[in-house]
Subunit: 505 residues, 2 copies
Amino acid sequence: MNNDVKAKWEAFTELVRKITAYNEAISLMHWDLRTGAPRKGVELRSGVIGTLSAEQFKLRVSDEMGEYIDYFTRPEVDGQLDDTARRIVKECKKDYDENKRIPAKKIEEFSVLSAHTQTIWEEAKANNDFASFEPNLVKIVDLLKEFIGYWGVKGTTYDTLLDKYEPELTVAKLDEVFGRLRERLVPLVAAIQASPNKPDTTFLDQIFEQEQQEKMGLFILGQMGYDFDAGRLDESVHPFAIGLNSGDVRITTHYLQDDVTSALFSSLHEGGHALYEQNISKDLAGTPLATGTSMGIHESQSRLWENIIGRSRAFWERYYPDLQKHFPQQLQDVSLDDFYRAVNRVENSLIRIESDELTYNLHIIIRYEIEKMIFNEGLEVKDLPKVWNEKYRQYLGITPPNDSLGVLQDVHWSGGDFGYFASYSLGNMYAAQIMNTMKKELPELDQYIREGNLIPIKEWLTEKIYRFGKSRTPAEIIMQVTGEELNPDYLADYLEEKYKEIYKL
Amino acid sequence: MNNDVKAKWEAFTELVRKITAYNEAISLMHWDLRTGAPRKGVELRSGVIGTLSAEQFKLRVSDEMGEYIDYFTRPEVDGQLDDTARRIVKECKKDYDENKRIPAKKIEEFSVLSAHTQTIWEEAKANNDFASFEPNLVKIVDLLKEFIGYWGVKGTTYDTLLDKYEPELTVAKLDEVFGRLRERLVPLVAAIQASPNKPDTTFLDQIFEQEQQEKMGLFILGQMGYDFDAGRLDESVHPFAIGLNSGDVRITTHYLQDDVTSALFSSLHEGGHALYEQNISKDLAGTPLATGTSMGIHESQSRLWENIIGRSRAFWERYYPDLQKHFPQQLQDVSLDDFYRAVNRVENSLIRIESDELTYNLHIIIRYEIEKMIFNEGLEVKDLPKVWNEKYRQYLGITPPNDSLGVLQDVHWSGGDFGYFASYSLGNMYAAQIMNTMKKELPELDQYIREGNLIPIKEWLTEKIYRFGKSRTPAEIIMQVTGEELNPDYLADYLEEKYKEIYKL
Ligand SMILES: [Zn+2]
Ligand SMILES: [Zn+2]
C-alpha cells in the first residue's frame, strides 16, 4: 500500500471496528435477555437494542462508508490490497448495497410487518388457522420480491435469497444436490420404515437428574476442546451459541428431566458452533470476517459434532461408561449397542425440529422446493398447505392432519426468512464431505474417537476451516478442504452405511 | 408548550433517550465483566466499552446538544417548560459544560494518566513506596486544578470537586457539619476504646456454609421488598448494585465462608441502593433523571438499610431466629444480645473499608480535610503521609505503621476521584436524619421492624425519596423529607445512644 492508501485504510478499519463494537454490545444484550434478564426490564431493554441497532445501521450505510467502498474498489487501489483487506471491503460493500438500495421507508415497513406477522403466525398456529396468516404472508412475499428487484436478480429470483445466507449458492446447484439427495434418501427412509428391526427406546423414558446431566454436559464440552476461559455455559429456553468475540463465545443449554439426550446432543451441537467461533484467527478481530463464513458451514460444524461424531458408535464406546456412571440406576442394564441404536432411531415425523439426522433432510428439501416455487414459479401463498401436504406424503409417507402440524409449524416465513432453510441440510452435506476428508488425513481418526482423544479433530478443523472465519467463501472452504465441490453423495453414503447397519437392511 | 417548543422538545428527548441507551448497554457490559465474562474476551470487550463510550460522548457534547441547551434555556422558552423538563435541560447542560469547556486533548490526557496512575498506585501500595506514586499524583492534582479553572471556580476551588458528586454542596457547609460531627464522635470513640465492656465476637470465627448464607441473603432481600422480577443477584469479587433501567436493577454479593456477616450486610447495603433505583418513577425512564440524585443520597439508602435498620436490635429480634435456623450448629448457643453486640463492635482500625459504622465517619473526615488542604490551602502531595498519620493519631488514636496501611490504602486518588469520599459520611448523616423523620411519621416503625414488616419502610422511602430520582437536588430532598437542612446531630445522637448502650458507657 502506498501512504495515501494506507492512511485511508486505517481510517476505514476504524469505522469497521466501530460497527463491530455495536455488534458485540447488541449480542450481549440479546444473550442477556435470553439467559436471565429480569422480566420487568425487557421492554426498555428492547428499546435500547433498537436504538443501538439504528445507530449502527447509520454507520453501515453512511456516506463515509460509501466513499470508502468507492475508493477501495477502484482498480488502482484494489490492486494494492491484500486478500483479507479485499474481503473486508467486499463484505462491507455487500452489506452497504443490500441496505442502501432499498428505500429506508421500505426497510422500516418490512421490519414492522415481519414483527407483526410473527404475532399473527403464533395465533394462526395455535388456532390451526392458515387463512388468518395468509394475507400477511402474501405481503411479506411481495415485499421480498420488491427487495429482490432493488438488490438485482442474481440468476433466478430465488438465487438472490439463497445468496443472503449461503453466499454464491444457486438454485442450479441446489436443484442438483437436493435432487440427488432426495433420490437416495427417500428409498432408504422407506426401507427403514418397513424394517422390523426397530431400536428399543423405552429406557429413555425415565427421569435423569439435572445435576448429573449438567456434569456430563460440561465433561463432554471439555473433551471437545471448548475453552471455558473463552466462553460460558448458561441455561435458556432454546439452546444457542453466540460469539461476542473470539475470546467470548457463549453457549446455552436446556435440561429436560425426562429426556437425557436433549441437553446432551444440544451441547455437542452448540459446542460445535462455539468451537468454530472460538478458533477464528485473532487477526480478524474487529472486522466483519471474524465470524463463520455462512449459515451452512456453521451448521456443518454443529452437525459434525452432534451427529457424525456424537451419534457414532466409536464415540459412545468411549463415553457410554461415563454416562452410565452418571446415571447408574437408569442405564446399568442398558447395553452400549442398545443405547447407540436408541439415539439413532429414525421416525417419519411431521415436525422438522423433532426429526432425526436422516429424515431431517427431507423436511428441508420440501421447504426448499416450496420456497423456490413461490419465488421462481409463481406458486401462490394460498396453495401452500396443499403443496406442503402432498410433498410430505410423497417424501415421508405421512400427511399432516392439520396445518398447525404442517405448513404452520416453522417461524421462519413469518419473519421473512426465505432462503434460510437450505442451510440446515447444506450443513449435513458439508459435514459428511468434510468428515470423509478428515478420515483420509487422520487415518487414526476412529481410534482417536474411541479413546476420547478429540483434540486432534478440533485442531484439524481449526487448521482447515475455523481460523479462516469469513475470509473464505463456503465454496472455497469446501474446495480447499475436500478438493471438490459440494457433493451430496458423501452424506447419502454415510447415512446409508450407518442406517443399513442399525436397521439391519 | 407552544407547537414550536413542543416539536423541538420531542427531538431533544429523542437525543437524550439515545444517550441513555448507551448508558444501559455500557452498564450491562460492565456488569458482565464483573460477574462472569470469560477472561479471554476481556481485552476486546474493554475496547468495545471504550468505543461505545466515545460514541456516546460525541452525542453529549455535540453541536446538536449545544443548540438544544441554548434554545431551551432562553427565558421565553424556559418559561414554557415544566419542572421536570427544566431539570432535564439542567442536567444535560451541566454535563455539556463540564466536558465541552475542557479541550478534548486534556480529557484524553487525564484518562490516560489516571489509568496509568492506578497501576502505579497498585505497585506503590504493594511495595509501601509512596515516593514512586507521588510524581503521578502531583500530575493528577495539577490537571484537576487546571480542569477546575476551565469549569469555573464555585466558591472555593475544592467546592467545584464536591459539586461533581454532591450537587451544590460546599466547603462552608461541610466544614460546619464535619466539624460538629468530629467534635461529638472523637470523644465517643475514645470512651468506647476505654470501656471494659467489649462485645465477644469469637463465635463469628466459624465456618458458615455458603449455601445457607445464600438462602438467608435471598430471604432478607425479599423481606426488604427487593423485586426479583426487576433484578437479579449474582456473585462478584466486590459487591455492587447497578441500575440498567428501573425494571432491571442488579446486585451482587460475595460469600466468605469464615465470615457470615460480610455477605449478609453487603446484601442489605446493595439492596438499599437497588430499592432506590427500582422505585424511581417510570415517567423518568430514558432521561438523565432516572437515577439517584447524588452519591450521598444514594449512600444514605444503602446505609439506612445496612446499619440503621440492619444492625438494629429490633431487626435481629425478628431475624436472628431465622439466622440461627440456617446455622444451628454455629449459633444455637449464642444469644440474641451477644449477636447484636458482636455485629456492632467498634474497633479503631487503620483501614476505612474494614471499619465500623461509627469510626467510619472519622476515616472520611480525615480524607475530607486532607483533600481540602490540597486544593484550597496549598498542601503539597509530598506532605500527605505526614498529615495523614498525624490526623489518624489525633482522631482515632492510632498511627499507621507504614503508608500501605495509611495514605496508600484507597484507590480513589489514583483515579482522580477527589471530592468523592465525603459522600460516604453524607450518606450516614442523611440516613440518620431521614430515619428521625420516618420514626415520627411512622409511629409504629419499631414495631414494624420487630415484626419483619419492612414493606411500609420501602413505601415511605419511595414516596419521599426514591420516586423523584434526580428530579430533586440532594438539598431539596433532605429539606422536603425532614423539614430542615443537613444536620449532623441526628447521626451523632443516633450513634451516641446506640453505642453508649452497647458499651455500657
Ligand atoms: Zn445450529
Ligand atoms: Zn454503597
